[in-house]
Symmetry: C2
Subunit: 438 residues, 2 copies
Amino acid sequence: MSREADAADQGDGERVRELVSALRPADVADLMGFLTADYRREILPHVPPDELAELLSELETNIREEVLESLEPATLAKALEALDSDDAADVLDDLDEHRRQSVLAALPAVDRSAIEASLAYDDGTAGRLMQREVVYAPQFWTVGQVIDHMGRGAEELPELFFEVYVVDPAMRPVGGAPVSSLLRVKHETPLSELMEAVTEIPVDMDQEEVAYIFDKYHLISAPVVDAGGRLVGQITVDDVIGVVQEESQEDMLALANVSDAGRDATTGEIVRSRLPWLVLNLATETVAVSAIAVYQDEIARIVALAVLMPIISSLGGNAGTQTLAVAVRALASRELNASNTARIIGRELAAGLLTGVSLALVLGLAVFTFYHDYKLALTAGLALVADIFVAAVGGIVAPLLLERVGRDPAVSSSIIVTFLTDLCGFFAVLAIAALILL
Amino acid sequence: MSREADAADQGDGERVRELVSALRPADVADLMGFLTADYRREILPHVPPDELAELLSELETNIREEVLESLEPATLAKALEALDSDDAADVLDDLDEHRRQSVLAALPAVDRSAIEASLAYDDGTAGRLMQREVVYAPQFWTVGQVIDHMGRGAEELPELFFEVYVVDPAMRPVGGAPVSSLLRVKHETPLSELMEAVTEIPVDMDQEEVAYIFDKYHLISAPVVDAGGRLVGQITVDDVIGVVQEESQEDMLALANVSDAGRDATTGEIVRSRLPWLVLNLATETVAVSAIAVYQDEIARIVALAVLMPIISSLGGNAGTQTLAVAVRALASRELNASNTARIIGRELAAGLLTGVSLALVLGLAVFTFYHDYKLALTAGLALVADIFVAAVGGIVAPLLLERVGRDPAVSSSIIVTFLTDLCGFFAVLAIAALILL
């Protein structure tokens, strides 16, 4: 890293170019992330135009914005020509409207219209994920005809492709032939002989659904079709891998009630991304502790209750989080669905009861050993069983209900479950204590 | 679903075969998951041998074990022949030693040795993920020679492939030619002209690292090399997509201190997968509340403290979980690394302080409004600042330390952070109260 920075420091352009060209675009993007903005500005002019394009699509969003600001529209247009339409649209999406129009104007008409079409689809849909560059052929062609056709039209072909889609006269996909199968047969072989079924992706499908289908059927590429079933592009698996990772990580962050402010976020941005949830947490917790306020007299008389409450609400909260994480994962991978909901809920409640009783025996024994008071031990045990059962109910029902009403089951479900287990943890201890101890 | 089950019920084999063959292996596997073991046994004989192989590699582990039990070694061997060596090894790995040997004995020698070689690698390594079937050619060959060669050796070729690896005389990869590029050029073109750099994967590389490299460089396939740098197989992106999902979801479950017992786990298995962490949680929480036991007299005098403690420890715990989730994600995607550790820690601590002060103002005001006691409000505010700062320290330092000592940063870090924030939450309230209130 430091060699590149040193070379840039001394204005040694030739050396920077040499070092940068020895790296792959993803590595140069990493390098840019480690450098300060000043160094980035020094290095940028030394990146060759064709590598600049790939570098742009690899950069993190906030660095990309900074780099895009510093480039001339013409330079940028030149770089974007080298990208597939999905990657080019991704880069352009970060520009403000005015600069986007200047860059689009500097592009050749064919690239411009492909990118504009891509930008017209919503972020997070198959249309945005797909590239318009695709190889297709009519059903009656032979392998030789396909190969000849590709030799002629090399300009508009995708950079890499894995399947030749077979279409009917209305451009509707009827199948696909893997590229490796074309290589194995004679030129006279009709394409229809190699044809396999393809999984069509509607252009407005959510990217999470696309990722699920790719993973389930082990797809390498799939044709994207419009509302009329006509082939409009293709999605390749390398575009999907990022979606899979993003979606799984989003669930993790959502369960922790936080959004990722990004590697280069300022302290203020971090605080803004976290504070709202903590304020909500403060509000729900205030409601939960009102159970304690109601029973202040009991606590003043038996201070041991103040010691037991946090133990019980903490165990309840953790048991709820466990159930929740498993449920969110199962919903995301479609293992939990309409066909088995009732069975899974039943199983979770049984597991909650069994876990609660097991832990209650341990806790009850510990309390009795320490306080020599079997009523207090009984209070602790019963409250724990109740709280862990509430945790099981909340942990499985909250995400299912959120999913049912069309919300993301990972978002806000942990706030609900923690509220329930805290409220019940405090209330159960104190109410049971009021019944049997006082 | 129910039509298939009904048909099986009536012993209507022909109808079952028809329905099953209309589905893809991944869908049949899903169907099997929805059925009871009895129905599965009815359906199994109607699955054609070549589809049985793919079905086996799609089934969930516990159903696969049950299905494998019910198959004759010869039937199983016949099915496995149709699979690539990585998928076949995956299936065989689930058999006990005795049955595995009978199935291996029933396989042709070439398949047997490929599968045995695959099983020799550790689970979770590149060697286990790779398939031995690979297309390679010497550097001096032309495209035509490669194509002719493939036509002759079609038997040993992988089912699908995306790259022809170019090797030196010692079988060390020197590059690769994408299959789609072979189709675009004349037969006389030397392979060396199409050759691009490849990313070699050492056979003992961890699968998480493999997934990272595939994602970073957008790879579709990559050659796997042994310790001597010789080509021994290849990994394709469809094998990696499952790893990416698995690793991200594992982090989520690990943060929630739970392992997934699987869709068909019994209640007992679920309890066993969750109880150990809850018992540990009970132990740490008992230590944390000992802070409360020490200050029992203070609580008896000012019961409001028992109301404040859970609010503060809950907010601290949630702030810690937020920091932790972001840190675990950043570590997993290598955004957090040696080059920026100091900066990120500094930023998290600053964010923790700012968040703590903001929340403390809200809480302090609320406490004053409710109790009309500015000393109590000050106690609450100071304790909250302290606890959220401890949360920030724990949330960023715990995963970094675990990573530094070679442990998974997602596993057990939330237990550490919750322990710290609970302990500090209780202790800070009571110690500060003892200082300024009493």
